[in-house]
């Protein structure tokens, strides 16, 4: 029995074996696992990479499958947690540091955005269908361009706004510098409240829709402001700090209002394309023929008394002017102008997002104040824009 001893494996010639961790010069096989890697169970070969570990543990090539797999390493519970906390603000809690770090996930933002795209498109079509009371067999009210428009809007919001915030935090050398993916993750989850809101937007009462916007903005906006503020509050320039917070809130509000305006308050034309509130464009793009036509047609009646007048007025406007929504529809507009002859008045140009939306918000604000629960009040907007058209036309003709 005394002959039994433990074999000592730390011999010199065994030190190079990959099975022992004793040697300090064990080469690239056995770097101590980064704590990031310990929570990524699927990446077997990760520690073999041998490159220097970064703080976020991104060792893999961006073109490899494993790189993306580490961002999908979430369980159902985690996703549920992040989802719920994205719109339930808890005081003095930072959404990113509490729920997203150390590892952001891309599952949430991806599927929330896709769901949001289709829920706004489907419910927008449903709202239009209900508005027009389902007239017509061929269902002209079903506009697939809502899907493409929504996807552009949501995708650009979720990708670009976090990038701006990341740049701002990096440039100002803020106290907490989140990584881009963490901010993107937070933004993706914060859009989740708009999914039930978009379903509820089908109910066609203006005050209800506005109250939905306000509630959802308060909830998700608070969460966003919390983590933005905690990152930027130590900034030396107070204006930058306040501006950042207000900017993020403002963009969030603009997204919600843009959805509401373009998708739920606009009218579907008999041709099957939606027309949003018409926005006036540069008068230099108007042909002289169109100018004459517009000034002749501008005083066309479109009172908001009866629905028939409403539809006729809007149809007239639509024949003259085709409004593009978020996606670039310039070619669409030109095609329509060619097919419909020279009746075009408002050729629209894709203006910068903020200015169009600012115009929209101002006009829709006026709308909501005059509102008394009637559906389809495009006319006030049309009246305003027609007046603006008239002014533009007169000025250009004078010139």
């Amino acid at each position: 029995m005394s002959n039994l001893q433990f074999q000592d494996f730390n011999f010199g010639d065994l030190a190079d074996s990959p099975f022992t961790a004793a040697s300090s010069n064990s080469g690239q096989d056995y770097k101590p696992a980064n704590k990031q890697h310990s929570i990524i169970p699927g990446l077997v070969g990760n520690t073999d990479e041998g490159s220097a570990t970064t703080t976020s543990g991104l060792q893999n090539n961006v073109f490899s499958f494993k790189f993306y797999q580490q961002y999908f390493d979430v369980d159902t519970e985690q996703v549920q947690n992040r989802l719920l906390n994205s719109f339930i603000p808890k005081w003095s809690k930072n959404f990113i540091t509490d729920y997203i770090q150390p590892l952001p996930d891309l599952y949430g933002p991806l599927w929330i955005c896709i769901t949001l795209i289709f829920s706004t498109a489907i419910c927008g079509n449903l709202a239009h269908y209900i508005d027009t009371n389902g007239e017509g067999d061929s269902r002209p009210g079903n506009d697939f361009s809502l899907v493409t428009g929504a996807s552009s809007l949501v995708a650009s919001y979720v990708i670009l706004v976090p990038f701006f915030i990341y740049c701002l935090l990096w440039y100002r050398k803020s106290a907490i510098q989140y990584s881009y993916l963490e901010i993107l993750c937070a933004y993706g989850y914060s859009l989740s409240i708009f999914i039930p809101v978009s379903i509820l937007w089908v109910v066609h009462y203006q005050w209800f829709r506005w109250s939905l916007i306000i509630v959802s903005l308060v909830l998700s906006g608070t969460v966003i402001v919390q983590w933005v503020w905690s990152a930027i509050k130590t900034d030396s320039n107070r204006m930058v700090a306040y501006g950042a917070v207000l900017g993020t809130l403002g963009l969030h509000a603009l997204l919600a209002i843009a959805f509401k305006e373009f998708y739920f308050d606009s009218v579907i034309l008999p041709q099957g394309r939606s027309s949003a509130p018409t926005i006036d464009s540069l008068p230099s793009t108007l042909s002289p023929q169109a100018l004459v036509a517009s000034s002749a047609l501008a005083p066309a009646p479109s009172s908001n008394n009866t629905q028939e007048n409403n539809v006729k007025g809007v149809a007239q406007n639509a024949v003259q002017s085709e409004q593009n929504k978020k996606p670039v529809a310039d070619s669409q507009v030109r095609d329509d102008s060619q097919t419909q002859g020279n009746e075009k008045t408002n050729l629209t140009i894709t203006e910068p997002k903020e200015s169009t939306k600012a115009q929209l918000t101002s006009s829709s604000n006026k709308e909501s104040k005059n509102e008394d629960g009637k559906p389809l009040q495009k006319n006030e907007n049309n009246d305003e824009t027609k007046k603006i058209n008239q002014e533009h036309n007169t000025t250009t003709i004078k010139e």
């Binding site: 999908f72 896709i114 289709f118 697939f144």
Partner: protein, 202 residues
């Protein structure tokens, strides 16, 4: 038809009791035989989707002809129309939608292989294609509200069938804690295709 079986010398390296030397025949056989065999396999898979009983066979012999055929059929049925999607849009949604759902499954750690998953998701679109055909025939009958209810019922049945069939095939290949995460995109995918069917098949 005058085709001699391969000599034993060619298949000497193989186990003579196994079947693979039959596959060497396929290079010499008439084209019609090849097509007919493939069609028969695809048809068998259609039948298995419509009556989900034998789960594993579909997974093992995957092919992409069936999904391609179904996606093209759906795109042809649903395209055009006033304000409707173009062929490309429907095809992208169906085909690349299944690719994205498959990528999601793989990224979350599913054990099913990529092509098997695309194959399953594509074949389970068959009930929705049948529903689209049904909706097209409904359009030639009665009053609007009845038409809408019939279409709704047909599409709902197609949706439920597609979900049931794909659940049967995909169950068991997902890690336990992420079942809902994997199932949800599949449901969303079939829901979107059902909505397209309901709205534009007329």
């Amino acid at each position: 038809a005058g085709v001699t079986p391969p000599t034993r010398t060619r298949s000497q390296n193989f186990d003579p009791s196994a079947d693979p030397d039959a596959e060497f025949d396929t290079l010499d056989e008439p084209v019609w035989d090849t097509i007919r065999r493939d069609l028969r396999l695809v048809g068998a898979k259609f039948a298995r989707v419509l009556k989900p009983d034998q789960n594993k066979q579909l997974l093992r012999d995957w092919d992409l002809w069936g999904p391609l055929f179904i996606c093209v059929l759906l795109s042809l049925l649903l395209q055009g129309g006033v304000g409707g999607p173009h062929f490309t849009e429907v095809f992208s949604i169906t085909f690349f939608g299944s690719c994205i759902v498959t990528a999601n499954t793989k990224l979350l750690g599913g054990t099913i292989s990529i092509f098997q998953s695309i194959c399953v998701l594509g074949y389970c679109l068959l009930p929705l294609a049948v529903a689209a055909i049904g909706c097209k025939f409904v359009a030639f009958s009665s009053s609007p509200s009845i038409k809408l209810t019939i279409k709704l019922v047909i599409t709902a049945v197609g949706f439920g069938w597609a979900i049931f069939a794909s659940m049967g095939f995909l169950a068991g290949s997902q890690p336990e804690k992420r079942r809902l995460l994997i199932i949800y995109p599949v449901v969303l995918f079939y829901f979107v295709v059902s909505w397209l069917t309901l709205s534009y098949a007329s």
